[in-house]
Amino acid sequence: MSLAALPILVPLAAGALSVAFWRSVAAQRAIALAGTLILLFVSILLMQQVHSEGFVVLHMGGWQAPLGITLAVDMLGAIMVLLTGITGLAIALFSLGDTPERHEKFGYYPLMHLLLAGVAGSFVTGDIFNLYVWFEVMLIASFALLTLGGERAQMEGAIKYVTLNLFSSAIFLSAVGILYGLVGTLNMADIAQKLGQVEDTGMVNVVAVMFMVAFGIKASAFPLFFWLPASYHTPLVGVSALFAGLLTKVGVYSLFRMFTVVFDHDVAYTHTILLWVAALTMLSGVLGAAAQFEFRRILSFHIISQIGYMILGLALYTPLAIIGGVFYIMHHIIVKTTLFLVSGVTYRLTGTHELSELGGFYRERPMLSVLFLIPAFSLAGMPPLSGFFAKLIVIRAGIEAEAWTVTAVALLVGLLTLYSMVKIWAEVFWKARPEAEDGVQRPEPRTEGLVWMYVAITGLAACTIFIGLNGQPIYNLAEVAAEQLMQPQGYIDAVLEGRP
């Protein structure tokens, strides 16, 4: 049996079930936990199947490709679905401890499931229009999650987020339309095959760049990232951790998919653009972070700079570089989610995200300090954590491709990342906590549910150590994914097999 549809069906079913139990928050919590656990289980099964069979293809409704909608999971898709499962479970655990009841009563859990369904759907689909639909599913869920609560900052952030993401969707849709006009098909494998026969290569490049802009906005690449730091620090911490871990990575995944399997006709043109985009994304993100003094804003800007590394892996377009890019995505999703969750705990205990008002955590909560240090060092690329290997592979690929400028930028950005992490460490954990003004008594922190938050953070931190200590097996997975992307014929054959 093909498992390709289950990563979509499980969260959708869990979401529908949570809506059915609208009045019972307790039931919704149980479903959130069970649903994400099953999703993780299914994603592991899917990973096993992809590992043994190479590709898992499911033709929906029995319509053969390229006529029907096809779900096609290769190694990259399976890795992304697995990461969705891990992140989803961590966020569900964290939400049990941190989500205020008024959010839970207004559909927090159903929206979370819907978002996970949209993300998983984007990773498994093999149809370009279907990808658009999953993007929209994901977007509408994220809109609602972003504005749940209705505070002023959330409204202002949401307007920017909604506008730029809808703009990106319109460009995406237009690009799909033009592409259909060129090749007369929507199946990615079929497009890849037929695009070679299109004579008007100028038009193909136009479409390629339209896709690049559309996914670039979603992935928050330079110069299209301004919606991200304006909105990601406004919702609940659990929500921004979910966004930080998964949403931008859907854009990156789509770039990887489209610019290896589909648009490989004019690499000199498209991937040179991507190369400079990557360098400027890394640099502008990390410099933006250096100027910030709010916990989640620093982390938001770091998402942008890390996206640069992933796009760099794609842009260099050598087998090693793609491996590095895939490895980087795996590392980044886990580490970034962990860091946001840590900021959730410090917020819970102090009620602020401002670095100047935080402090003293190393003395009060040594355990939390260690849990911050692990992902922070991993993000900066310290051995033996996952970030070290991710950076090592990408930079080594850069040196082998003799792309000196971007490699130098990548190294410099690694150093500046460390600076930002040390800044957070010094301000939040190391320095003494500033006295409250005018002898105002600080409210006693709410500690109920804190254990759930710790469980989520500890699990994710264990994941980054696991990736670091098991570099070789993870590298092998990334290698398989890169091989399939660099030689798309295997993917094309697997999807179009048995075509009339």
């Binding site: 229009f129 658009y132 639909v133 929209e136 977007l139 509408i140 809109f143 609602a144 504005t147 209705g150 505070e151 002023r152 900052a153 409204m155 202002e156 952030g157 949401a158 307007i159 920017k160 909604v162 506008t163 809808l166 703009f167 969707s169 319109a170 849709l173 237009s174 799909v176 339309g177 033009i178 259909y180 006009g181 007369g184 929507l186 730091p229 304006a230 909105s231 620090h233 406004t234 933006g288 100027a291 910030q292 804003r297």
Partner: protein
Amino acid sequence: METLMAYVVGVMFAAAVYMMLRRSIVKLVIGLMLLSNAANLLIFTVAGMKQGAPPLIPEGAEAPATAVADPLPQALILTAIVIAFGVLAFSVVLIHRAYEVVGTDDLDQMKDTDT
């Protein structure tokens, strides 16, 4: 006809972007509406326009006898219209709430979250 439609689509995109660049959030939403409709018309146009040839297969045959209009773009547009409708309904509610909470409809005043 296709040339005319191409100009119409171009003007709609231009008008949409112009409206989105204005300061009022109401005009922003009008821009978003125009934008999604422009994208839909674009799909309709680039897929080829054909008059008086419905995609019907005569009884007993397995394929249409002559060249017919492609029904797929219309299915795509229908899906896109439904999605755009949902998303726009959300944005209308969003700007209403934002106006209530922030107390202005001027995008230039909504700078609290910018850096």
